[in-house]
């Protein structure tokens, strides 16, 4: 059974279409790049999968279920913005996650914080933007989730941090789980992807394995992206 499936999924904001008749299925154990330019519908798709938006028509399923409390317990979501309470410390956030997520591993989070030299007692509001993003990523990747949905995890951070973030994702996800990484920085993520899902103006324009794209088109995913989305 696909871990994430969209069936004729459409989302409109008023009269503006954000997603139009989108259908795809992601099987367990895949790392999928949700690739598209800004405003293509990537975040809308991720928010729909997390129950933060409701479809105008069609459906989106997580392990065969519509988004609900049960699906939220198997999805680890990293939004594109800082969503943790700024007054909390990293230590308090670890307790918070431990309380709500049965699959959260506090030791793993503590190890990653230590490796990065982030003090557990430090409050989020005292951290730089980059450090806050790292803490959020650490929290998201310290879960043994079935599906990780990472919205622009490498947007707005320096190249060294990008490498760290990608390494954290690769080293910490369960191989039987799936990872969806939304980004427009293709070159940085290309090497970790199994599949690429191109989205443009709310429509899926390509969904294929990275290997097949390279073989059949004779170019990298980044190259194809630049060709497909040429201005």
């Amino acid at each position: 059974m696909p871990i994430l499936e969209a069936k004729s999924l459409t989302k409109r904001y008023g009269s503006n279409p954000a997603l139009t008749n989108v259908s795809f299925a992601i099987e367990p154990g895949r790392i999928v790049g949700l690739l598209g330019p800004n405003g293509s519908g990537k975040t809308t798709l991720i928010k729909l999968a997390n129950g933060l938006l409701q479809p105008t028509s069609g459906e989106i399923l997580i392990g065969g279920m519509s988004p609900c409390a049960k699906t939220k317990s198997i999805v680890s979501y990293l939004p594109e913005r800082i969503n943790v309470p700024l007054w909390m410390s990293a230590e308090e956030l670890i307790k918070f996650y431990s309380d709500f997520y049965a699959d959260f591993e506090p030791n793993r989070a503590q190890d990653m914080l230590r490796n990065l030299g982030i003090g557990e007692k430090m409050r989020i509001k005292e951290m730089s933007k980059g450090t806050r993003e790292k803490v959020q990523l650490i929290l998201a990747m310290s879960r043994r989730a079935k599906l990780y949905m990472l919205d622009e995890p490498i947007g707005g951070v320096d190249p060294a941090t990008r490498d760290y973030i990608l390494a954290t994702i690769i080293n910490n996800y369960d191989p039987s789980a799936s990872v969806v990484i939304s980004t427009h920085l293709i070159a940085d993520v290309e090497n970790v992807l199994d599949d690429a899902l191109f989205i443009s103006r709310g429509e899926i324009v390509l969904y294929d394995s990275v290997d097949h794209i390279r073989e059949s088109r004779g170019m990298s995913v980044d190259g194809l992206f630049r060709e497909v989305f040429r201005c």
Partner: protein, 266 residues
């Protein structure tokens, strides 16, 4: 999961409200001495300072309620309708649990603020003689209650009033939450739309309430009065409690529906 939500809700709000309680009690302690020194013919500067302390005490009393109310609203906005909503609304809990956690915590802090305000008045006005008088009055009240033939009725009235106060508190919370969820469903001017929603809902409910009363009175002109006080009490209680319950259900469904289907986090 409701227990865990409550724990974190109390922590998040307690860190803001408990220091306020400490300040109110401290000011009431200063006010206690200020009250006693006001008529002692002190120099102008000192007298002015005492008046300022007394003013701070009264402002603090009102401020405590306003602050509790503001914390309740800001907490809902930040934790559900703004960036933290990305975390709160993706927790593996139902929207019902999230809502009840907010409502229960708001009610508890509101009740605690009433108690703190009462305590601060007692501290400010404390005198041995005064306390003895207050205890005497309390004893008289108990005496009156136990000498009353129909104790069950008095207990029933007291419980009914307490129940009404709790339900009214819940309805008050839900009224504000529902308006906020309406306002924050819009793409822009979210706060303005929340306030507009509050006024529109208040006007509509005012019309419905007034119209319903007219219909009730036209059907039975003795709808509010009866032969005995007990019967009149329960007649009025049923009407008021029923209308509060109805409003509560409307606000709850509206809030839940908006969070479920119209949530539009930036």
């Amino acid at each position: 999961m409701l227990g865990k939500l409550l724990k974190h809700e109390f922590r998040a709000t307690g860190r803001l409200i408990l220091p306020m309680y400490a300040v109110v009690l401290l000011v009431s302690l200063f006010a206690h001495f200020a009250f006693r020194m006001l008529d002692r013919g002190l120099p102008v500067f000192l007298g002015l300072l005492l008046y300022l302390i007394v003013a701070a005490f009264f402002i603090g009393l009102i401020g405590a309620f306003v602050y509790t109310f503001v914390v309740m609203i800001v907490r809902f906005k930040r934790n559900v309708l703004s960036d933290e909503g990305y975390l709160t609304m993706t927790l593996p809990v139902s929207i019902h649990s999230i809502l009840w956690a907010k409502i229960i915590v708001s009610l508890v802090w509101s009740a605690a603020t009433v108690l703190i305000a009462a305590l601060s008045v007692v501290i400010a006005a404390f005198e041995v003689g005064w306390v003895v008088e207050a205890l005497k009055d309390l004893g008289y009240l108990f005496e009156l209650f136990f000498s009353y033939d129909d104790k069950a009725s008095v207990l029933g009235w007291m419980l009914s009033i307490a129940l009404y106060a709790v339900v009214s508190g819940i309805v008050g919370c839900l009224n504000i939450y529902s308006c906020m969820t309406i306002g924050y469903g819009f793409a822009r001017n979210k706060v303005l739309w929340s306030i507009v929603a509050y006024f529109i809902i208040s006007i509509i409910l005012g019309w419905i309430g007034g119209g319903s009363l007219q219909v009730l009175v036209s059907l039975n002109e003795n709808v509010f009065t009866s032969e005995t006080f007990n019967e009149s009490f329960y007649q009025n209680f049923t009407l008021l409690f029923g209308s509060q319950l109805l409003y509560g259900v409307i606000f709850y469904v509206l809030t839940w529906w908006n969070l479920r289907y119209r949530l539009n986090l930036e």
